[in-house]
């Protein structure tokens, strides 16, 4: 009963204003500042206020309801066209992360040289699928939180804890339009570990994940060739192979392959920064004795 409406209603009574509602200041109330009011409204929802800063949310109380009706009324505004192939798997020497590098805007390839592995800090890596901004922003936010934890407690947070930070943020903003599918990996005292986190706040620990539109194709190659006791070289080759195959079949993935290796000793290494997938494709096909144009075993009708 401490809000401003209470004060206004009672202002018709003859009692002095301050004794009824000491927090109400009428002289300020008259100069209505829309921006200020909006901020206040957002502030009252309470649970959405993050430590240190706050986003401007849709005006009103029911954020999730607002997003739902927005999706109905303007589907194009909220459904981002996105496509990607990212994969990561655990093996005996740590975790291997492999990603493609294509960014699309509908049918238009806007870039073939995107960095889809986010270097969170010197022991954490995150991959980027879904909304680039959401992935990048929240993973950097986790980096900040990790640093704060380190300064407060004198030791680095575990990967389990850092991934939980990200999952908790996703839970807090669930249904409000965030778009993120990330494989969160890192190396701590217990060695390297791998988590999958997405905008539904799903967080699962696992050995092998592939995320994005090309993920099904990557899974196909990975599941048939994966062994836990692979050497680093074998793992790197498998990663390259899976991404190349996925980019061949999935038009929304392509560009170059980037490979990262998370060691079991608290750090990660960049292994391959940019291998052109189209060159790899011809290389792999020529190793099989094919041309790479995909016309093997087909009738030569039009030539």
């Amino acid at each position: 009963m401490d809000n401003e409406n209470f004060g206004l209603a009672k202002s018709f009574s003859s009692a002095p204003v301050l004794s009824i509602s000491p927090h109400t200041n009428f002289s300020q109330k008259e100069q209505t500042d829309i921006e200020h009011e909006l901020n206040e409204q957002v502030g009252t929802t309470g649970e959405y206020v993050s430590e240190g800063f706050c986003f401007k949310l849709a005006p009103g109380q029911d954020q999730i309801g607002f997003m739902r009706s927005l999706k109905e009324k303007a589907p194009k505004l909220t459904d981002f066209a996105k496509g990607t192939t990212t994969l990561a798997f655990e093996f005996q020497e740590g975790v291997l992360v492999a990603v493609d590098a294509r960014a699309t805007m509908g049918a238009f390839i806007s870039s073939n040289n995107v960095r889809k592995v986010i270097e969170i800090n010197d022991f954490l890596l995150g991959t980027m699928a879904g909304g680039a901004a959401d992935c990048m922003f929240w993973e950097k936010y986790v980096a900040m939180q990790c640093r704060v934890y380190e300064l407060r407690n004198g030791e680095k947070p575990s990967v389990a804890m850092a991934s939980m930070m990200l999952a908790s943020i996703m839970r807090q903003y669930r249904g409000q339009g965030l778009s993120m599918g990330t494989m969160f990996t890192g190396s701590d005292k217990t060695g390297a570990s791998l988590y999958y986190i997405d905008n539904d706040a799903t967080r699962v620990k696992g050995r092998l994940f592939a995320v994005g539109s090309g993920g099904t194709f990557a899974y196909g190659v990975l599941d048939t060739n994966y062994r836990y006791d692979m050497s680093l070289d074998e793992a790197v080759n498998l990663g390259i192979r899976a991404i190349t195959s996925a980019t061949f079949k999935d038009s929304a993935s392509g560009g170059v392959v980037r490979i990262y290796h998370v060691t079991n000793h608290g750090k990660w290494n960049l292994i391959h920064d940019a291998i052109d997938v189209s060159e790899l494709h011809y290389q792999f096909e020529q190793n099989k004795g094919h041309t790479g144009r995909g016309n093997e075993g087909k009738p030569n009708k039009y030539l």
């Binding site: 999952a167 839970r171 669930r174 997405d198 539904d200 799903t202 699962v204 993920g215 099904t216 899974y219």
Partner: protein
């Protein structure tokens, strides 16, 4: 789409669960244990979205543990179930947990085993056998037909195995592995139900 089901005898209760975590058209994980051991004589099996399941079951577990620390007494099976119902009903009109649960346990006070069925609206019912989700359409009849008063633990396990066979022959979802947890006087035992 998770399959969870359970059966309860006089002094034993078995709860079974598939181990897949699915999202869109993927199976993200093949070996997820969806049955949480709350303490040495209580299990909580949850189906639903991974995040809600994790959040709810861990919240309950930690609070029951706190309660035990504060009072020096473990809550009975029914009291724990009622507590879970209250928490679920409290959350229902704010940010509902989309979890359907089976709560099984052995009461040391009177030497009885109990099984509770609860859906995400907070419907709580003590049952002798129960199932959730699509699995219920296939499994409930098998449970009904095989249940007997005073049946033994072996009969109970065999019944659950029959349920799994039925799911594997008729259910469209790919659920290759099932895990089961048996609660008796001796405590909780894990069994692999897919041999």
């Amino acid at each position: 789409m998770d399959s969870i089901f359970g059966i309860c005898g006089k002094d034993w209760v078995v709860v079974a669960c598939d181990t897949a975590v699915n999202r869109s058209i993927f199976t993200l994980k093949h070996d997820d244990d969806k049955i949480l051991s709350l303490n040495t004589n209580k299990v909580l099996a949850c189906s639903g979205e991974q995040t809600d399941r994790y959040q709810f079951s861990n919240y309950i577990q930690k609070n029951l543990e706190l309660q035990a620390y504060l009072t020096g007494h473990e809550l009975s099976i029914e009291a724990s179930a009622q507590y879970m119902r209250t928490e679920l009903a409290k959350a229902l009109r704010k940010a509902p947990y989309q979890v359907n649960c089976l709560i099984g346990g052995f009461d040391h006070l009177n030497g009885e085993a109990k099984l509770f069925w609860m859906d995400y609206f907070g419907t709580l019912q003590q049952v002798t056998k129960g199932a959730h989700g699509y699995a219920g359409y296939f499994v409930n009849s098998v449970l009904d037909n095989n249940y007997q008063v005073n049946m033994t633990l072996e009969d109970g396990i065999n019944t659950l195995k029959k349920c799994i066979v039925e799911l594997k022959t008729r259910f469209i979802m790919n659920q290759p592995t099932f895990i089961g947890k048996i609660v008796t006087k001796e405590g909780i035992r894990v069994i692999n139900l897919t041999e």
